[in-house]
Amino acid sequence: MSTRLLKAFSSNFAHPSFAIGFCVSLILVAFALLSLVWTPHATDIVNVANRFAAPFGNHWFGTDFFGRDILSMLMAGALTSLRVAVLAVAIGMVIGVPLGLLAAGHGGWLERLILRFNDFVFAFPAIITAIIITTLFGPSAINAMIAIGIFNIPVFARVARGGALSIWTLDYVDAARLSGLRVWQISVRHVLPNILSLLIVQATIQLSLGILAEAGLSYIGLGTQPPETSLGLMLKEAQSFFLAYPMQAIWPGVTIIAFVMGLNLMGDGLRDQMDPKLSKAGGMNVTG
């Protein structure tokens, strides 16, 4: 992690919304990761006799329609949502960032081609990609992840290119060129480290969008499928019980909101601390 980001990080704790966002995100991530090794109850047993148990007894948050422990389900669900969002961001970054760097570094026809490609992919909202993938391979969390990931590609390409373009105008890049470095070497040695914080901010925002998108896709049946669980799927499953057992829908809903808000607040805080010129250069940020 770059020093500027670290600095932004520490100085940001004075910034209350960043501190809150960071803590909330950290707690939820820890909560999700914990489910890998431990959950209060198993999530794959069905115990119908114990369905809709009230909270605060044996089950802190009660049980769902299959008699599963809601807290355990939330943990496992948060993990799925997080995994989908994180991998989608990874897809977006791994493909998008090099494209953006290449566009900025190479210029000319290649840049135009990449921009066209970006516009093209932008025309396919994640849901449409998900529809196509699902039609081909059936619904699953992986499909949701790929669909969201594909949508993330132009987002990161755009941010990376915008940031890189402003770096490329700086004298130290010219100095590096005078030192005989090639375009890709400059991109890796000088451009990438200097736009990293920009990318990290964008990543937190895309993470929060990814969690929301996963929820939406699961809701219409294109995402996570039972017996796996995700926050979105829990919400969907809880919907028909909403009038009788509202808490079923409240828990996952609140978890999603907390997660998304936490990540957004954190991203905002980081952005506030960063060089304003840099973030203005490329930031395509749908959530503001």
Partner: protein, 317 residues
């Protein structure tokens, strides 16, 4: 101007062509036999073959792609395999819902989001700003289907002010059609409004720091006069870009919201068609959605060119 328009339109057309090819060839390799689905479990092989031929499924893919493209130009998309109605008609029929819904939400979110964003920017750092932006954070974080569900429970099931869903064609009863769209539009628009409010605020706060606002104040304008007369228009430029991108999200949102309100929109058409393996409908409807997004982005570009006299390289960035 004309040359530029033609050039951009060609770009749009090319994008759509590539999109069409992508959708067609992806869906063409799909497993699943529409004929079998239509005829059900006990259908005989002869009836299957008969139906397949009737649907033109026995021709090579490239020819069918050509036929589809021609169909797209002439508006004759052929017959739906599962619903036995002209696809163009099916899609047009659904558009009378999906388009007002998406555009209604766009307009509503603009009408709500921009003024709130401006208000927050004007009161930057004060309680009003903090409160609004807190609300906006929540608005952004709420899954729209969940919000939609809450709206239904409150306004339809409990208060019975508005229908919980369903749609009546405009031609039949415009008031009922309008009433049916109110809750879905709100469900779609509010989260988007939250986003727009934030973008508008950020943008305006940014602009407010710029020198020309100080110049305007030096002329004798008050702070809010300067913001309104000089700030808002400048701040709108980045907001416009975001609004173009938001449209893609709105389209996606309509598909989700249609589900909550059992609205017969394009999304529902696609889902029914998918479960019926009716690729003819799926691909055309998908292309319509993609086309809408592309065209809106194009219009935003044009608008940008009209609003911003500088327009140096903006459009390409």
């Amino acid at each position: 101007m004309v040359g530029y328009l033609i050039q951009r339109l060609l770009g749009v057309a090319l994008t759509l062509l590539v999109a069409a090819a992508l959708i067609f060839f992806l869906l063409d390799v799909l497993p699943g036999d529409p004929a079998r689905f239509m005829l059900g479990i006990n259908a005989s092989d002869e009836s299957l073959a008969a139906l397949r031929q009737q649907l033109g499924l026995d021709q090579p893919a490239i020819i069918r792609f050509g036929q589809w493209l021609t169909g797209l130009m002439t508006g004759d998309l052929g017959m739906s395999a599962s619903q036995r109605a002209p696809i163009a008609e099916l899609i047009l029929d659904r558009m009378q819902l999906s388009l007002p819904l998406a555009f209604g939400a766009l307009v509503l979110s603009t009408l709500i989001g921009l003024p709130l964003g401006i208000f927050a920017a004007q009161h930057q750092g004060k309680p009003g700003d903090a409160g609004l932006m807190g609300l906006a954070q929540i608005g952004i974080a709420i899954p729209n289907f969940w919000f939609a569900m809450l709206l239904v429970v409150v306004f339809a099931v409990t208060l019975k002010w508005l229908p919980p869903g369903g749609f009546v064609p405009w031609a039949e009863n415009p008031t009922a059609a309008f009433r049916a769209l109110i809750l879905p539009t709100i469900a779609l628009a509010l989260p988007q409004a939250a986003i727009l409010a934030r973008v508008m605020r950020t943008s305006l706060v940014d602009v407010a720091r710029q020198d020309f606002i100080r110049t305007a104040r030096a002329k004798g304008l008050s702070k809010s006069q300067a913001l309104w007369r000089h700030g808002v228009r400048n701040a709108l430029l980045p907001v416009l870009t975001i609004m173009g991108l938001q449209f893609a999200f709105l389209i996606a949102g309509t598909i989700i919201v249609e589900n909550v309100f059992y609205l017969p929109g394009l999304g529902r058409l696609i889902f029914t068609a998918i479960s019926a393996r009716d690729l003819f409908v799926v691909r055309s409807a998908l292309l319509v959605l993609v086309g809408l997004v592309v065209i809106i982005m194009f219009l935003v570009d044009l608008l940008y060119a009209l609003v911003d006299p500088r327009l140096k390289k903006r459009a390409t960035q």
